[in-house]
């Protein structure tokens, strides 16, 4: 308890000019630590210390959580939430991309009085096929659906990417466009993060386009799907990238053409 108070106090004290302000965008690479908080399933905490400031962040709200054996690239917005759940300044929205080329010493902190967060279904979740969805209403015209990825891969993120893809699928199934153009993007513009120059390979744009195109062909048999590539690495300000510019650059766009 005392320890928790101290930790909280330390977090709140204006130790340096680097202290996080609500809304600040933080981006860094470091090893994650798992805190064994227990409020039922999926309630444990993920904490990462920013090597530049020493500030401890709570990144547990990331849709794709860390692996304690590898470093993560953290990108997030400092939220106003109290650090009481896990013992770190809460980032929300937040992403944690696993960097499998950077091993970490696996470490687990005990709960130390922190409760973690009781699991609640994230707002981006897909519904069972048995549940009849209300069909989207027309009129239908050309529309673009983005899907977002973690850094360095083409994996469809559970309760994020799958949700966005399902939304696109439902709309397309109702709208009957003439064809779909799937454009893959990669964050190819080098960004300095914690002393590393982070740039995704251009091939990843192609890989992402192919992965989503394959899913679309399975979801919508008979629908013409064309895969394209854009390696410029430009960010967008689409709302489903949650106001995280780096996230927005790692995407696929599904364009429905009539």
């Amino acid at each position: 308890m005392l320890r928790k108070l101290l930790a909280t106090a330390a977090l709140l004290a204006p130790v340096s000019a680097a202290a996080a302000q609500t809304g600040d965008l933080v981006q860094f690479i470091a090893c994650p630590v798992y805190r064994d908080a227990d409020s039922g399933k999926k309630s444990g905490c993920w904490l990462v210390d920013d090597p530049a400031t020493g500030l401890r962040y709570d990144v547990s709200l990331s849709p794709h959580k860390p692996d304690w054996n590898f470093a993560v690239m953290v990108e997030g917005r400092v939220s106003g939430a109290s650090p009481e759940a896990c013992g770190g300044a809460v980032l929300d929205a937040v992403r944690t991309s696993r960097l499998y080329d950077t091993p970490c010493t696996r470490h687990m902190l005990p709960a130390e009085g922190y409760k973690g967060r009781r699991f609640v279904l994230p707002k981006r979740n897909i519904s069972p096929t048995s549940m009849v969805q209300p069909a989207p209403e027309g009129p239908f015209a050309e529309r673009v659906f983005p899907i977002y990825f973690e850094w360095g891969n083409d994996f469809l993120i559970y309760q994020y990417g799958d949700y966005l893809l399902e939304q696109a699928y439902h709309w397309i199934a109702a709208a009957h466009p003439a064809k779909l153009v799937v454009t893959g993007y990669a964050a190819t513009q080098p960004q300095p993060v914690s002393g590393r120059n982070m740039a995704e390979p251009a091939e990843l744009a192609e890989q992402r386009a192919q992965t989503i195109a394959q899913s679309l062909r399975r979801l919508l048999p008979g629908m013409p799907v064309e895969a394209r590539v854009d390696t410029s690495g430009n960010p967008t300000n689409d709302r489903d990238a949650d106001n995280l510019p780096a996230q927005s650059a790692r995407r696929v766009e599904i364009r429905a053409l009539f």
Binding site: K41, S62, D67, P128, T129, E150, F155, Y158, R218, L219
Partner: protein, 493 residues
């Protein structure tokens, strides 16, 4: 022993209806029995019931029951009703004793450790007799579920070949194949295994593939390595591989086998220690299973194993109708169901859960995280998860199984690194990805009492062995009471 069991079971039945006394437990190919609408068989934990949807069926001339190929086997040889449509090691041992090893079950092709061994010797069939394992020869390099070749992102070398089926002129990677050893999976309650709950495979991060025959999405939940996407592909593989049937199954045979597979349901009906499993509000037994909608996620609907929820609080009036032992056992089963859902532990380094999907490594959850389908306990999503049952350092180092060294050519495996030692690469033999090494498709959890040993390679010799494996694998720290409750609950499924 068997007789005693049967009598003990009948004594406990009470008001439960008993189908006509079962004839011989063993179903020989082509014997032409009628498969009744309801059929009971005693086992070490009580008795199992099979229900045939739509009523009794003649098996004379039926493609599941007739010996189609040259070795005299039928599908039923390895998918025996008394063993919950699988085959227990005890039954295999019994057949060996009874027939002096002459039963077609022991056919050299896969009912022996390797065809090149002297077939008349018991030790040449030790894996089947002691652990219920059949030899499965898989093509190398890899073929996908649709038969298309894929270029694997790993190499495979044989480190140990105790049976001779992974080396020499005919066998092993250099000869274009590898041999692994697996349990027969139960062919019952099939609508659950084929049900599609969501359009995506969250573990692979893609939409589910379509069935080439009827265009529906495929569940990805059959076979340890999902090398067959639908029942037609599975039975063609089985007819060729297990029955040594040289011809192609006809459309009529395919339809007949599928019809039977979709109609047969099974679960434990009577517990030797608790009595009938569908009394005092409980909903055990196959009737509920047959009647329910398949494919539902327990966490958002009917909780997994809530079949026994009514036994959490048995009122004093009802309690009087039970012996103290029966009452205690029922309470234990009900607690076991809660332990299964509610006792949390840290799941670590299990590909399919801790990678690539983003639950985190570790993630806190319970048995029901993976075994999440209502009524069945298999995975609603395609259930390929690496529990470590076949792969070092988590598996038991069985010296009588082959050991392979897998080297990942591109990215290392997220949990094992670049080099992996495994006795069965599992799903990787279908996808060609080193990230899938050791993943085995979750099975049905019904009728467990009738089909020991457990896990794809028979690693757990009894139900308690399953709990002990998990306790060790994930450092769970179950109390002795929790272990017993889980074991008792599983004996009632």
């Amino acid at each position: 022993m068997r007789k005693k069991l049967l009598i003990a079971t009948i004594g406990l039945l009470g008001s439960a209806t008993l189908a006509a006394p079962a004839p011989d437990r063993w179903w020989s190919p082509g014997e032409g029995r009628v498969f009744p609408a309801s059929l009971d068989y005693a086992n070490a934990h009580g008795s199992l019931r099979l229900l045939l949807d739509g009523g009794a069926m003649k098996t004379k001339g039926h493609a599941f029951f007739e010996p189609l190929g040259k070795n005299g086997r039928a599908c039923v040889t390895c998918h025996q009703p008394a063993d919950a449509m699988s085959l227990s090691a005890a039954t295999a041992a019994e057949r060996w004793e009874k027939t002096g090893g002459k039963d077609p079950l022991f056919a050299a092709i896969d009912g022996s450790n390797c065809p090149a061994l002297p077939q008349e010797k018991r030790e040449s069939h030790s894996l089947l007799i002691e652990r219920g394992l059949f030899r499965i020869q898989l093509p190398w390099p890899v073929r996908q579920w649709n038969g298309r070749p894929v270029t694997p992102d790993f190499t495979i070398e044989v480190l140990r070949d105790p049976n001779g089926c992974n080396s020499g002129a005919m066998h092993g990677p250099a000869a274009g194949n590898i041999s692994v050893y697996r349990r027969a999976r139960p062919v019952a309650n099939m609508k659950y295994l084929l049900a599609v709950g969501f359009p995506f495979d969250p573990k692979q991060g893609v939409a589910l593939p379509r069935d080439p025959d009827d265009g529906t999405m495929m569940s990805g939940n059959i076979m340890a390595d999902n090398r067959a996407g639908n029942l037609r592909m599975q039975m063609e593989d089985a007819a060729h591989g297990h029955l040594e049937y040289a011809r192609k199954l006809t459309t009529a045979q395919i339809a007949q086998i599928k019809d039977f597979e979709m109609r047969v349901f099974t679960a434990q009906q009577v517990s030797a220690k608790a009595g009938a499993l569908d009394t005092l509000g409980a909903q055990g037994g196959p009737r509920k299973l047959q009647a329910s909608q398949p494919g539902a996620l327990g966490s958002i609907g009917i909780p997994v194993w809530s079949e026994f929820a009514a036994w959490e609080k048995i009122n004093p009036e009802d309690a009087k109708t039970l012996s103290p032992e029966q009452l205690a056992f029922r309470q234990s089963v009900a607690r076991g169901a809660r332990v299964f859902r509610e006792k949390m532990f840290l799941i670590t380094d299990s590909a399919g859960i801790n990678s690539r999907v983003g639950f985190g490594n570790p993630v806190r959850n319970s048995c029901v995280f993976c075994h999440n389908m209502s009524q069945m306990g298999n995975d609603v999503a395609p259930g390929q998860v690496d529990l470590g049952t076949t792969t070092m350092p988590f598996a038991d180092p069985w010296r009588d199984l082959p050991l392979f060294r897998i080297t990942c050519l591109k990215a290392p495996h997220p949990h094992y690194g670049r080099v992996i030692l495994t006795m069965d690469p599992g799903y990787a033999m279908t996808t060609g990805r080193c990230a899938d090494v050791g993943k085995i498709t979750l099975q049905s959890m019904r009728g467990l009492a009738a089909r020991a040993p457990y896990f794809s390679n028979g690693l757990a010799k009894d139900l308690r062995g399953i709990v002990d494996y998990y306790d060790r694998r994930y450092n769970i720290g179950y109390t002795e009471q929790e272990k017993q409750d889980l074991t008792n609950m599983m004996s009632a499924l």
